[in-house]
């Protein structure tokens, strides 16, 4: 079926709630209102208030409560209304969920959905891409779909995983991206995907930047540029990254997140460490500078990686 990215996530939640009694949702405004973006619209009606729980503004309770329910056998999917608010639940994610199995051999199979990303004039508190915080904390997994099909598949795979999984759903893609999505439950593996093939340079990215990079590559007449969609940030698909770096010898990494210690920094270090012998040029990163995301469209456009900036970086590195 043809679904938008948002509809695919909804459909994934619906499949999960139908297939498994242990699944329930917690979050702010997800029930009666159907969610700030309408991702959970209709679910309260279909499944009732014991499966779709509206909580007070209590991010620590949402996450920690999910952990508590999970360790006695439930499979909760919780939501932070905007990824930016994950900072209010940070302690439960990093200190409780992340460290639980290592310390106590107790698994916390929870999913935390974070509507992330900019380009909507959301300003500093509604535009963040905070995924790097969670790669840095042990015991967590992080995924970031760029297509409708992957959005549903990665969500269901995250649910099946016995570990805490953070699901970065890009709000800019909710209605902008549409695709063919299989009916019923299926899982997408936590692996990278080659979006298009090429031999002279590889662009490595994820989330909304996959679409920006694809547009930039389209504008290069006939250049042989590969595009790799990471899809899974933790675990990083090191094999796919290194294979692409070795085969193409030139790498451009695009981060919508702030430059310093974004995922691209880890990917860059990995390539420099393990594929140095195959590089024919420096690893180039195109990233948002280390600023809070500004609200005015002119300012926001100036900081987020644009198609032009990505294309310029590719062009320059190709010619190097």
């Amino acid at each position: 079926m043809q679904l938008t990215y948002l509809e695919a996530i909804s459909d994934g939640l619906r499949c999960a709630l139908r297939e498994d009694d242990r699944v329930f949702l917690l979050g702010e405004d997800i029930g009666v209102m159907g969610g700030a973006f309408k991702v959970t619209a209709g679910l309260l009606d279909e499944f009732g208030p014991e499966r779709v729980i509206d909580t007070p503004i209590s991010e620590e309770m949402i996450v920690g409560g999910a952990v508590g329910a999970a360790i006695v056998g439930m499979r909760p999917i919780c939501e932070m209304q905007f990824a930016d608010f994950v900072a209010c639940g940070f302690d439960q994610i990093v200190n409780v969920a992340g460290k639980l199995h290592y310390r106590l051999e107790l698994a916390a199979p929870i999913v935390i959905r974070l509507p992330c990303g900019g380009g909507v004039s959301g300003g500093p508190y509604h535009s963040a891409n905070p995924e790097a915080w969670f790669l840095h904390a042990p015991g967590l997994k992080v995924v970031a779909p760029s297509t409708a099909e992957d959005a549903k598949g990665l969500l269901l795979a995250a649910l099946a995983d016995p570990n805490p999984v953070i699901f970065m759903e890009h709000k800019g893609l909710y209605r902008r991206v549409r695709g063919e999505v299989p009916e019923g439950p299926y899982e997408t593996p936590f692996e990278a995907r080659t979006v298009r093939d090429g031999d002279d340079l590889v662009v490595i990215t994820y989330g909304a930047m996959v679409h920006a990079a694809a547009a930039a590559i389209e504008q290069l007449d006939g250049a042989s540029v590969r595009l790799l969609d990471l899809r899974s940030l933790e675990p990083l698909d090191e094999e796919a990254i290194l294979a692409a770096a070795r085969e193409c010898s030139k790498v451009v990494i695009v981060d919508e997140a702030n430059y310093t210690c974004a995922i691209g920094a880890q990917v860059s270090a990995l390539i420099a460490e393990r594929a140095f012998e195959d590089l024919d040029g420096p690893i180039i990163r195109v990233a948002t500078p280390d600023v809070p995301i500004p609200f005015a469209p002119e300012l926001e456009r100036a900081v987020l990686p644009s198609v032009e900036r990505i294309r310029a970086a590719i062009t320059e590195l190709l010619a190097y």
């Binding site: 329930f24 014991e50 909580t55 007070p56 209590s58 991010e59 620590e60 309770m61 920690g64 409560g65 999910a66 952990v67 508590g68 329910a69 999970a70 360790i71 006695v72 056998g73 439930m74 302690d91 439960q92 200190n95 409780v96 460290k99 199995h101 290592y102 310390r103 106590l104 051999e105 107790l106 698994a107 916390a108 199979p109 042990p138 015991g139 997994k141 016995p162 570990n163």
Partner: protein, 349 residues
């Protein structure tokens, strides 16, 4: 939703007092065991054999033993710093605890975490973090699951004055109150959070916190193990009846410093002397002696058990260094929390 537990015919229908003689002896024995284990641990720490820091709950044994004694096998418990007795009631052995302090492979924490950060998941005990209100949230989450599934189970969280100032505490209690979750909140009013006296922790009487959240609040003499048991038993009944959380404010005293590294010079000597006279073990011992129980024999058995455990723990191997990076992630279908021991005679197990 059922108000009667699925295990045990007698529970909840009996008239008081709810403790048989064996229970009263048991309560004493668990407290004596906690004190003996913690004294032994402190001694090992002072000998330099326990790495890191060392914490104990001297003087607070009645609160954690009495409260945990009221829990059934399927209930879950989140002990905090002073609550080693809770672990012992649920069935964790002195050997496992001492080996844990020593950081041995066979200790509860397997060397991954130390001192009071332990909890045997197989016995329904969730080990604490250092963020002192974290586990109140987790306990509320467990209670949420029990309610959603209509199970006659409750969860209990221990915490001190300090934890009630952390944001997490309020998020948990607020949510548990709104949802009327089967949660038992045991506030150990032990006078000090590290060096902060209770007066600087509460702008209102602690039980006003219960009123503020619209939940039942119950004060209790935290050094009377039988009183603590009774108050908790009622709280559990209330929880299973769908009446929501109870905040039990147990008045007691932290007799040692925050940890072995803290000489607690900020605690007035008179205060300690006053509470020494109210020692919870002495209180219960007095009752048993009056009932003709050979307490000395219990003490001797406890001493022997802990001595043997210490010796065995010291002989256990350290964890394999190669295992340090293993087990960050769960690899397979997770095992939920298990069932602990429920020694109260009021439960048929």
């Amino acid at each position: 939703m059922s108000t009667l537990p699925t295990t045990g015919a007698a529970e909840g229908t009996r008239e008081g007092p709810y403790l048989e003689l064996p229970d009263r002896v048991s309560l004493y024995r668990f407290m004596a065991l906690q004190r003996a284990v913690e004294e032994r641990g402190l001694s090992l720490y002072k000998q330099g054999r326990v790495p890191g820091s060392y914490y104990d709950g001297r003087g607070q044994e009645a609160t954690c033993v009495g409260a945990t004694y009221a829990l059934n096998a399927a209930d879950t418990v989140c002990p905090l710093i002073r609550d080693m007795g809770a672990h012992l009631v649920r069935g964790t052995t002195p050997l496992a605890i001492l080996a844990h302090y020593l950081g041995r492979a066979g200790g509860v924490g397997r060397g991954r975490d130390g001192n009071v950060h332990l909890g045997e998941a197989s016995r329904g005990v969730v080990g604490m973090t250092s963020m002192l209100a974290d586990m109140v949230v987790v306990a509320a989450g467990m209670a949420l699951a029990f309610k959603l599934r209509g199970e006659p189970r409750c969860s209990l969280a221990f915490f001190g004055d300090g934890a009630t100032s952390v944001g997490d505490w309020h998020e948990a209690v607020n949510f548990a109150a709104i949802e009327r979750l089967p949660l038992i909140l045991v506030l150990e009013l032990n006078g000090y959070a590290y060096s902060t006296p209770s007066a600087a922790q509460f702008p209102v009487h602690p039980l006003a916190r219960a009123t503020a959240y619209g939940i039942h609040g119950e004060p209790v003499d935290g050094n009377d193990v039988e009183a603590v048991f009774e108050v908790t038993r009622q709280a559990r009944e209330r929880a299973l009846a769908g009446e929501g959380p109870t905040l039990i404010a147990a008045k007691t005293m932290r007799m040692h410093g925050h940890g072995a590294h803290d000489d607690a010079r900020y605690v007035p000597a008179e205060l300690l002397a006053k509470w020494e006279a109210r020692d919870p073990l002495a209180r219960q011992r007095g009752r048993l002696v009056e009932l003709g129980v050979d307490v000395a024999a219990i003490d001797a058995a406890v001493a022997e058990e802990v001595a043997a455990a210490a010796q065995a723990a010291l002989a256990m191997p350290a964890p394999d260094a190669a295992s340090a990076t293993v087990g960050v992630y769960a690899a397979s279908e997770p095992t939920p929390l298990g069932r602990g021991e429920a020694p109260w005679s009021g439960f048929c197990s």
